[in-house]
Amino acid sequence: MIQLALASLRSRRTTAILTIAVIAISVALLLAVERVRDQVQSHFANTVSGTDLIVGARTGDVQLLMASVFHIGAMTNNMSWKSYQDLSQRREVKWSIPVSLGDSVGGMPVVATTQAFFQHFHYGEHQSLNLRQGQVFTHVTGAVLGSNAAAKLDKKLGDALIVAHGSGGISFTEHGDHPFTVAGILAPTGTPVDEAIYIPLRGLEQIHGAHHEAEAEHQQHQDKLLSAFSGPPTESISAAFIGLKVKPLALRLQREINTQRGEPLTALLPGLTLQQLWKTLRLFEQALTIVSFMVVLTGLLGMLTSLLASLRERRREMAILRALGAGPGTVFGLLLAEAFLLTLVGTAAGVALIYLLQLSLNGVIQHYFGVILSIHWPSNAEWWRIAIVVVAGFVLSLLPAWRAYRQSLADGLTVKL
């Protein structure tokens, strides 16, 4: 029966191939949405790891997280260096990283920080940052580039960087007289770190605060070793990443910081806030899933249409089979087998297509979106989606099969064409 269905399909191969193509594309889309969602979610959860608290001036949790981790949006207020120091010297605190945001190079965000960043910042599953080339900045004008930032700005070790104020691609205030030099380039992480440019806090302070100082004195400062300085590197920072000695204390410390007198600050637990943020994105994600299921439905309805349309011209075929002793049940089965074959081949082709697309486009996707879509065996969720498509295809194919069954019962062996 399968052989017969195959031969019959082959005789209508243009329609069959088109039907398979439509199903394949819709299945690929369905899987792509699931795959992107899955990857973005894990990408999202992997952006920061090991950090117990993020602290900044009083603002919303999501805004603080977006600015400090994703470099999206800006912090309207800063927290004073003194507050930061008080915080970092608390007994519970194991390490802390101050960051100052708001500048950019060619649209890529600049993060001013200290060497502590490269030592303590972790992402993914407790992975630390690695340098692909060069070293961590040691001079005031040193800069370390994220892997994508280096690629997009086309900078190599030793190249000069002009930092512009503001985060847009075009800025009217360039700190042109204070170029930074690329000291190191980080290995890719698949997180927003890849997009950023890291400079020392003192370097940022210098380009912002240089106007107070005499030009001569400033010139001397330029290439100084960071270790040559003492005293606070800056007056205020945007946010601080904090690691604790005892992790469970994070919640208590958060409450303490959020309610303390003195400078109003916000502390957030990164894992929790990331989850909240992801929940707000869920609606969008669900809409995407619904749309892609609609596309699959359209593909299957296309198959239904072409099968139903073919029934009229195939009445003679059915009559011949009936004359040979095929029962109406065989005719039913034949149509079912045909539709099922189309669905199966279409679905398989869709799965193949998604892998093909990933293999050929992963580089491009990573370059433009900074997301690495890992190539893996279909996940459970994906198997479910595949199963839903196959079952839906099967259910829909009952209709043409039923029509053919009724038709062959009515026609018998005498078809008047």
């Binding site: 031969a7 019959s8 082959r10 005789s11 003679r316 075929e317 009559a319 011949i320 089979l321 009936r322 004359a323 040979l324 002793g325 095929a326 029962g327 109406p328 049940g329 065989t330 018998g412 062996l413 005498t414 064409l417």
Partner: protein
């Protein structure tokens, strides 16, 4: 039931849903090995009679016995099996699945009939080739898609399929209507010649009385069907 009869109808009445009686046949039989031309004008109930004989339809009343099987007492599935096992059926035209080769069209019958497979004892392919060759199809034609053959060639392939596994009864539904006189006679000759080799009953249905010379018996449907008789009497 008589063992020497290929077809026996008694007291058969049939009407299509919501329509007047089409067939009313008190008694009619065809002897085994007979070659019969059943003639009837179009609309006289020929197709309906063939539906009953092939077991696609059952009469509201009476019995239809084909090759010793009372079709009216069988389920539709059992009737399908009787058809596959005991009948070779040849259509007016479009007998073949155009997407299979001529050869595959012939051996297709063996797929649906266990009895014919047993009869062939695994020699289906050999017999199919032999039949097709005797019917004048070259090896290349046998392997070319049926849709590429001429109408005459297609009808000969249909004969080969009907004969494969030597079923006791062949029903032909106006198979020559698409052929010209010369090819029609050639077709009839080869069909009847091959049928006689295995004493196969041939029921040939046509509206064309000029074919009568080829057959042992010539039956007018109007003679056996009382519905038609009353109509014709009314004329």
């Amino acid at each position: 039931m008589n063992a020497s009869r290929s077809i026996a109808l008694s007291d058969v009445k049939f009407a299509w849903p919501q329509q007047p009686l089409t067939l009313d046949i008190p008694e009619w039989h065809v002897d085994r090995g007979a070659r019969i031309l059943l003639r009837g004008a179009s609309g006289s109930g020929k197709s309906t009679l063939l539906s009953l004989l092939s077991g696609v339809q059952t009469p509201q009343q009476g019995s239809v016995v084909v090759e010793g099987q009372n079709l009216t007492q069988l389920s539709s599935h059992q009737r399908d099996i009787v058809r596959a096992n005991h009948m070779g059926y040849i259509f007016q035209q479009f007998n073949l699945l155009p997407y299979l080769t001529a050869f595959d069209n012939v051996v297709l019958i063996a797929r649906f009939s266990k009895a014919r497979r047993q009869q062939l004892q695994g020699k289906a392919h050999a017999q199919a080739q032999q039949l097709l060759s005797r019917l004048g199809l070259t090896a290349a034609q046998q392997q070319s898609p049926a849709g590429n053959l001429s109408v005459g060639q297609q009808q000969r392939v249909a004969v080969a399929r009907a004969l494969l596994g030597n079923p006791p009864l062949i029903i032909a539904d106006e198979p020559t209507s698409a052929l010209d006189t010369q090819r029609r006679d050639a077709f009839l000759d080869v069909l009847l010649e091959m049928a006689s080799e295995h004493n196969t009953t041939v029921l040939f249905v046509s509206h064309d009385p000029s074919l009568a010379t080829h057959f042992d018996q010539h039956v007018e449907l109007a003679q056996i069907n009382q519905v038609a008789t009353t109509e014709e009497l009314a004329k």
